[in-house]
Symmetry: C2
Subunit: 227 residues, 2 copies
């Protein structure tokens, strides 16, 4: 479903050029569960943003569901981002003045649900991540790990077929991390595609395939025999 | 040097009261290296903020260096925060429009250094965390782990005697985490006090003492025989 060929992403900084991605070619099929690992700064989030249609490569091609993403209009891209992809950002990106309930319900507005339906679905999503008693709280009234879980709940609320999770357990204790991993495992069983960045091997081991990045390139692509 | 007695911290939310800390009594001596662990929402960051003089308890007492913190003026507290304590925040709290160099140099302005001295010290601090080639970058031009390292460099720049680090390696790969842990180990050898929150056991094992929190209380306080 996801196919990139020789993707690069450059940033110009004054007279310097930063090659965040150099030449990344990867194919991910429907229903796969892939973990990306690699050193800080190796390009993982940059690749996730391109796959999630939030950023455009400087060169190379990206095909999603057989469509050349560079040929899609802004509307078509927005449609994909809202309906087909759920994104857990490394820095959460929650609305600071909205409650967890409203933050989680946000993607449902695009999906056309009524306020009553949105609130019911959002409450359920927050219960699924153990935050049923925190839905009035705004982000600054939550712990770091609670904000992370609100970001996870928001990414999953539209039941997207592709979940992109950038460090989904970076601020969570072991037990809470396993609860999130069980959520992902359930979604994977239903046939969804899961792509996750993590620096923790225990978390990467839930995936069926682990891709290692280094310096803007893919260094290794391994099958996990015992997820 | 740090002594809290029956510290509580309550938040009023409408008709509900959240007991972020219930009754926390702890003593930490000069030169100790303590790790705090515990479930998401158990009160770790709340306790760190009180210890770091960024927040006041709802009840109970906090003595720092034999001084009753509740008796200190705003100026005296600001002095302590700038000179004696270095804080790595769970959410980094960098100035979004400043470069990493200026972010790291910020605490030095209070210390009275000239611009030339501040820039030299800040460059060295960034090199120590592997970001010598990133000092022009603003936070949104850095990866998650790079921002985390800028936050670490900023906390250490004034050579504070007490380092409070809330999840300092949450976004870092193994190798980079060890580099940060080596930095902390060096500071500890020089006699500084290190208090760190982490959810990773490998990281907690660098400390000499591990305190477990649960539901706003201290559950366990163990000595680590083999740091
Ligand atoms: N401003 C606030 N208003 C209401 N409740 C709050 C506020 N800030 C924190 N809390 C609550 O206090 C509790 C403790 O929060 P704290 O940030 O100390 O947890 P933590 O142990 O650091 O968690 P994590 O590991 O997820 O970072 C949480 O349940 C949180 O929802
Ligand atoms: N807007 C930008 N301008 C310049 N350089 C950038 C920009 N955004 C990212 N970079 C650089 O691109 C590289 C890759 O960044 P990226 O965020 O993809 O890394 P990462 O693998 O996710 O790292 P981490 O594990 O620390 O989150 C980094 O070296 C970073 O400094
Ligand atoms: Mg990243
Ligand atoms: Mg916290």
């Amino acid at each position: 479903v996801i196919h990139t060929e020789n993707i690069s992403r450059r940033y110009k900084m004054g007279s310097e050029i930063i090659n965040a991605l150099k030449s990344v070619s990867i194919s991910i099929n429907f229903g796969e569960y892939v973990a990306f690992m690699g050193p800080s700064g190796s390009g993982k989030s940059t690749l996730m943003n391109i796959i999630g249609c939030l950023d455009t490569p400087s060169s190379g091609s990206y095909t999603l569901n057989k469509r050349d993403v560079s040929r899609l209009s802004e509307d078509e891209l927005a449609q994909i981002r809202n309906k087909e992809i759920g994104f857990v950002f490394q820095t959460f990106n929650l609305l600071p003045r909205a409650s967890s309930l409203d933050n989680v319900a946000l993607p449902l507005i695009y999906a056309g649900y009524s306020k009553k339906e949105r609130d019911a679905k959002a409450k359920k999503a927050l219960e699924d991540v153990g935050l049923g008693d925190r839905y009035h709280h705004k982000p600054n009234e939550l712990s770091g790990g609670q904000r992370q879980r609100v970001a996870v709940a928001r990414a999953l609320i539209n039941s997207p077929s592709i979940i992109l999770a950038d460090e989904p357990t970076g601020n969570l204790d072991t037990k809470t991390s396993y609860e999130i991993m069980n959520l992902f495992a359930e979604l994977h069983k239903k046939g969804n595609t899961i792509i996750m960045v993590t620096h923790e091997e225990d978390i990467a081991n839930y995936a069926h395939r682990v891709v290692f990045m280094r310096d803007g390139n893919i260094e290794r692509d391994d099958i996990n025999e015992n997820p």
